[in-house]
Symmetry: C2
Subunit: 314 residues, 2 copies
Amino acid sequence: MGGDFAPAATIDGAVSALDEIGAGNVVVLLGPEALIREELRRRDVGQDRFAIVHCPQEITMEEKPLKALSEKPGSGIATGFRMLAQGQLDAFASAGNSGAMLAGAVTSIKCIPGVSRPCTCTMIPQEDGTYGLLLDIGTTPDAKPEVMVQFAIIGSLYARYVLGKADPKVGLLNVGTEDGKGNLQCQAVFPMLKACPHIRFTGNMEPRELFKNHVDVMVTDGFVGNIVLKEIETFYRLIQKRGLGDPLFDRLNYELYGGSPILGVNAPVVLGHGISSALAVKNMLLQSKRMSEQGLVDALRRLFAAYASQDGNA
Amino acid sequence: MGGDFAPAATIDGAVSALDEIGAGNVVVLLGPEALIREELRRRDVGQDRFAIVHCPQEITMEEKPLKALSEKPGSGIATGFRMLAQGQLDAFASAGNSGAMLAGAVTSIKCIPGVSRPCTCTMIPQEDGTYGLLLDIGTTPDAKPEVMVQFAIIGSLYARYVLGKADPKVGLLNVGTEDGKGNLQCQAVFPMLKACPHIRFTGNMEPRELFKNHVDVMVTDGFVGNIVLKEIETFYRLIQKRGLGDPLFDRLNYELYGGSPILGVNAPVVLGHGISSALAVKNMLLQSKRMSEQGLVDALRRLFAAYASQDGNA
C-alpha cells in the first residue's frame, strides 16, 4: 500500500519484475490480502506467482514513524521489517512513509555494528553514460565528520559490490576544490577522509562535477544531499515539462533506479519515492535483489568489524 | 584587470554600458592607465568618455585576500574600495579575486551597524517570467540563525528597493515544507524568521519551488546557497552544451544579471563571476548604478538602526 499510486502501481511493478527476478526467487506482496488477490485477478495474473502476506493495517504518509510502527504491527512496513529481521525475507522495498521505513530499519534489523547512522544513496547519471553515487541524500542531516567518513566507506562498498566498480574514487561535495575549502563540517571531514585507509579519496569536488564522472562516490551530509537531489529532480521535471528530452537528462528519471537504498543496516532495504510508478516499483525490486545477491551487507559487516577494531571506532 | 577575460571584456562591457548609464554619471575605469588608453584607442572610443584611475598593481585570482590587499594598495580592488570609502565613487564593481573583493568591502566601507556578516545574492529566473532572489550564495558558509534572519531582512529590502517588489515574501530553503523540518540550523532559524517583524515570512520552501515564484526571497546559508547556485550553473551549461536552449533556461545565464551584490556593507558593491564576459561587465555596471540610485544602502542603515535598538541586536 506504499506510495501515492498503490496498490495499482505496486502490483503492476511487481508483475513486470517477475521475469527478471528469476525462477529461484519469490516476490512477497505485503498488504490487504483480498485487495491484492482482486488486483491480480483483474490483471489476469496467476495468484500462485507471488507469496502474499496479509497486512490489514496501513501506515499513511502523514503518520509519525515510531508511533505508527508501534500502533500498527499489522501494517506492511512493520510486517516487512519483522520478516526481514527473522530471515523470512532477504530484502525489503516499499514506497511508503519514508520516516517509518527508516525507523523500521533502525529498530528492527538495526545498524551494522560500528555504523553510527544509516544513510541513503542515489544514482547520478554521468555525461559519459556511467553512474555515480551520491550519499547521504536525507537520512542524517547533521552528520558529524566521523559519520561522513562512514558514508564514504559505505558508498565505496556499494559502488564496488552493487555497481561493480573495482576501486571507486570518493569525492567530498564542496564549494571549491582546494584543500581546506568549505564550511566547518567540510573542513573537519576533509583530513579524516584523506587519512581513511578504507577508501580512495580524491579530494573536494564542486557541483559542476556532478555529471562529469570525476569520482564514483560523492559524499555530503543528509541536508545538502537532499537539497542537491531535489534540485536535480526539479530540473528533470522542468526539462520534461518543456519537452526538452535528451539521452542524458532522460536518465535523471528516478524511476529507472527504483528507489534509494538504506545503507548501513543489517539487511538490504530500498526506500521508494512517494510518487513511485510501476516502473519504479519494478526497479526497486530488482535493486533490492541485487543488493541481496551481491553480498553488500556481509561486506559492510566485515569491513566495519575490522574498522571498529583497528580505529577504536565502534 | 578583474576576471579571466580582462582587460578586453572589461573595456568592452564598460563601453557598451555607456549609453544606458546616462549622461549624468561617470564610469571610472581602474587599472594600468596606458593599457586602458591603448584598449580604448584600439576600439576607437574617445578617451574622455571615461574617468581613468591609474592602478599599476594587480591582485591575481590565486592571492590570499587580506595579504594581497595590504601589499598591493595600488591594485584596482584596493584603490576602488579606498575611493568608495572616501565617497569618490558611488558604487564599485569588479570581476576580480572574490575573496579580496569581500575582504576589501568589510575592511574599508565596513558592515552597516547592526549587520553581523555581509552576504551575497543572486537572481533566480522564475517560470512565470519574474525573478526571485537567493541569498546567501557563498559569503557566510556557517551562518548562525540570527545571521540568517539578517539575510532575510537584507534580501527583503533588496527585493523592495532594487527589484521593485512591494511586500516581498520570504521562504527558508529546506528539505521539507512542514514547520520544524530540516537540519538543526533550519530548525533554529524557522521560529526566529516567524517572529521577525521586518519580513513577510511564508515558511519553508523546497528546491522544487526554486523556479515557481512562490516566494520573492529564498534564504539559506552560504554553503548551501553556493551549492544550489553552482548546481543551477551546471544545469545551465549542460543545457547549452546539448543545444537545448529555451526561454526559461536561457535566463539562467548569469551574464544577464551582471554579478552578485555584496549586501550589508556601507556602499553598493557588485562582485563579478571570474569568467565575466563583456555582457556580464555591462550588467554589473548597470546593477551597481541601480543599487546606488535606489537608496538600498540608506534603507538598510535605517532599518538596522531601528532593528538594533528594538531587538538589542546591535
